[in-house]
Symmetry: C2
Subunit: 168 residues, 2 copies
């Protein structure tokens, strides 16, 4: 489960146009932001919710609900699955986490209300959140062309990351 932080640095061509948010180097900041955000909204970032959020922040890859339960068990009393799910529901509602349906796993997010996109590696499972006008605009346009109203759900784009391209 231990994993070196993603090497986000040596990237091709036009990566400058994307804002990426690897969880690993923004933990502290994001935790403070989350607290501020919850205060502002009048909702409670309780100890359980906070621990789940920290766990997600600290992980370079999305975690399953039962992974979270295991991990949290090692730092205290075991938590029932439903408890984890309730915390996750809260975090998702507040935009602090997203469910990656393609992996049945959960990942910390920025709390912004915009539709985020995640690049998910088919090999190692690591996921990178990107905020990209182009993606957002394309999604909006495609939806409205079919008469759909957009929802702020995470967009999952599957591929194979730099480190996993040769393998398998």
């Amino acid at each position: 489960m231990v994993h070196a932080p993603a090497l986000q640095h040596r990237l091709p061509a036009d990566s400058a146009r994307f804002q990426t948010s690897p969880a690993s180097d923004s933990g502290r900041r994001t935790l403070a932001e989350a607290e501020a955000l919850c205060r502002a909204r009048g909702v409670r970032l309780t100890p359980i919710r906070r621990r789940v959020f920290e766990m997600l922040l600290g992980s370079p890859k999305p975690l399953g609900a039962y992974d979270l339960a295991d991990a949290l068990a090692s730092q205290g009393r075991r938590m029932a699955p439903i408890t984890v799910y309730r915390a996750l529901d809260f975090l998702i509602e507040q935009g602090l986490a997203h469910r990656l349906a393609s992996r049945n796993a959960y990942i910390a997010s920025t709390g912004s209300r915009e539709t985020p996109a995640f690049l998910v590696c088919d090999g190692c499972g690591e996921a990178t959140e990107i905020t990209c006008q182009e993606v957002a605009a394309t999604v909006r346009r495609v939806l409205s062309a079919q008469g759909y109203k957009p929802l702020a759900r995470a967009l999952e784009i599957t591929g194979r990351c730099v480190h996993c391209q040769d393998v398998h």
Copy 2:
């Protein structure tokens, strides 16, 4: 479970730029195509696989594996879950179906090897396959900008369809 076929006709503005493929009105044609495609590839569209594929083709919304088992039970002997999953695996390998992870459900597809996109309604669950150069290009660009190699996985875009916008 019975559901009127989607009204795909009165659509906003620039829908002409998208090729949509509602399952309901292309069943016959697509079944023949699937047969041809399997023959050409030297793989076998066995009775079980064919029935599962027909079931998917006939449904306006994605079906769960156990839905399929139930539906197929009503037209003969009950099928074990694993049998359904095996048929689905085959169809997915051949590009004749896709798994919609956000719904734990499966949907018939065209068999083309390109990355398709599905608009999935958060309300009724109906899904529309679209083939759109713009979407494909955006996905490719975003992936390569982060050093990812594209995979031909279905892209799921969630929204609320025309009929479900007022409800809930």
